[in-house]
Assembly symmetry: C2
Homo-oligomer: 354 residues x 2
Amino acid sequence: MKKACDEMAHKDTFRGYGPYEGYEFLRNAIVAHDYQARGVNIAADEIFVSDGAKSDVAHFQELFSADARVALQDPVYPVYLDTNVMAGRSGAFANGQFAHVIYLPCTAENNFAPALPKEHADIVYLCSPNNPTGSVLTRAQLQTWVDWALEHKAIILFDSAYEAFITQPDLPHSIYEIAGAEKCAVEFRSFSKTAGFTGTRCAYCVVPKALKLTDGAGNTYSANDLWMRHQSTKFNGVSYPVQRGAEAFFSAEGQAQTRKAIDGYLANAKVILRALDQAGLMAYGGQNAPYIWLKTPQGVTSWDFFDKMLNGLQIVGTPGSGFGLSGEGYFRLTAFNSPEQTQKAAARIAAGLK
Amino acid sequence: MKKACDEMAHKDTFRGYGPYEGYEFLRNAIVAHDYQARGVNIAADEIFVSDGAKSDVAHFQELFSADARVALQDPVYPVYLDTNVMAGRSGAFANGQFAHVIYLPCTAENNFAPALPKEHADIVYLCSPNNPTGSVLTRAQLQTWVDWALEHKAIILFDSAYEAFITQPDLPHSIYEIAGAEKCAVEFRSFSKTAGFTGTRCAYCVVPKALKLTDGAGNTYSANDLWMRHQSTKFNGVSYPVQRGAEAFFSAEGQAQTRKAIDGYLANAKVILRALDQAGLMAYGGQNAPYIWLKTPQGVTSWDFFDKMLNGLQIVGTPGSGFGLSGEGYFRLTAFNSPEQTQKAAARIAAGLK
């Protein structure tokens, strides 16, 4: 990044407006490391570099009509729902839910795997590894979703921002590891959680050229063309030094450093899971995700548990009900801290919650 | 920026997610230099830092309903129109124009100053200094627009990305120099053209707390609150090193360097204007803007003139018709080149177009 800053300071190496979809050096690195290395056939012109997966996820719904039906996991990363509400696609709000949104409950009862919608849906948001539950969809589960989407002409918006945390070798990192996904799915990826880019800002999404969107009259359009049009009209690309920073993540040194950081977070997750077990609490996730999703004790709401953790143990977490109705009775902890702080918190949990 | 990159590499100075609206150090610098220094009363919590004025201008229309009437200058920066078309707000396209859009012709006949709309408009895009015509709205003209907007409950989206090019001391740099503007106007600013940030990406918009938006039932909402909600849901802020780069623009050294660059571009504009005069062509702008807007010779269309310039003189410019119907018969040249290249082009124009 510092080298890129120097380039920007000299006439011969200065770069003005870059490609809307990101520089080829970065898109090529993404394709090679995140797809070809896993045997997945994605091309550089199917990659769109952006300032954040949040921006991509928030804006992609603009390609759909106002009456498109949205299905999403419950609990869920709030941006999926909120942006559809803001687009006027959600219907009336009553009893904590929106009338036109299809909620797919993910609880301990179904092992946090959403069932296929009973009604027709045009758009389905799937997040795996999941925020907040820390669960991961298996290859077979994802194949079921892809087959369903192809049959029902639905589009899957697949958020795999946490794929780098997957430790089990048989779990899919990309939806394009599943046959047919290139015809029904868009994938969102981020450098935030994999490479500490939360404040540096870089991400990308994959819009396959085989993906077609169909309008009400049955006409089909290339989703790749439409997204390029969206990005070129509403965005001027990501800062050049930032794209060089993202490219460096794919270098041998970058891969080694970030692998070490992620392994550290996964070790933290183990420490937290052990403490919760010692405290007699049921907990999920943390093995292939940075999130630990714990069941609050019988009769204790998410917010009551929040107060208990904060005031009793001086530990901050996120009440599950903030992620949706099915999050009530759960609580999210994250592994994103130092080993020392994590050990300290774990000791308090193990001792204090007994 | 390099210092900020170093900070990101150390645990004690690392910065993760920043404020959605931008760091206070940058918003304070913007307020001090761009507003308070001109006697304009804008506060730091009315500033929203973004990755580009294009992004802000493209997304701000989302706060309005699908049936809001849009008025815009013709010719115009295409993003204003295109984003409203994409939002379904434009009506049917026929004879080169959209049925529900109110076009405000800006030609040599009205000295490139748009007349007030004859129909009701909810949103008016004004760009001053103007891209592509290079014209600037005077204080009196802008007061007329502000008074009209207040009377008709219209919102002015004021794009002043080129304000640093204003040389005449009596011309307004900000719409907030006009009485009442804080109740009817949003202002868009960019570091791209003032500080060479085209590839570095940083900009900001001003949404005054006094600005209210009214819904169909007559309820009013704070535009500042709505925009904060938009940004916090769909955006995660600008890269920290980039914000430090923008802050450096406001340092004494940054101001001196960028002033020198802008003065250089304005000198280029003079050279081009002189050459066009020698070639017997009418030309406008270039005095308070980086753009020169020339009238093509009688009977020569914008595209014919483009071919003539390209094939005859090896000079590339932009056909005026690309900016709207009223741009036909005009051609845009820019001052954004080196003095040497500009001199070379000017010599060809003066000699070749006679």
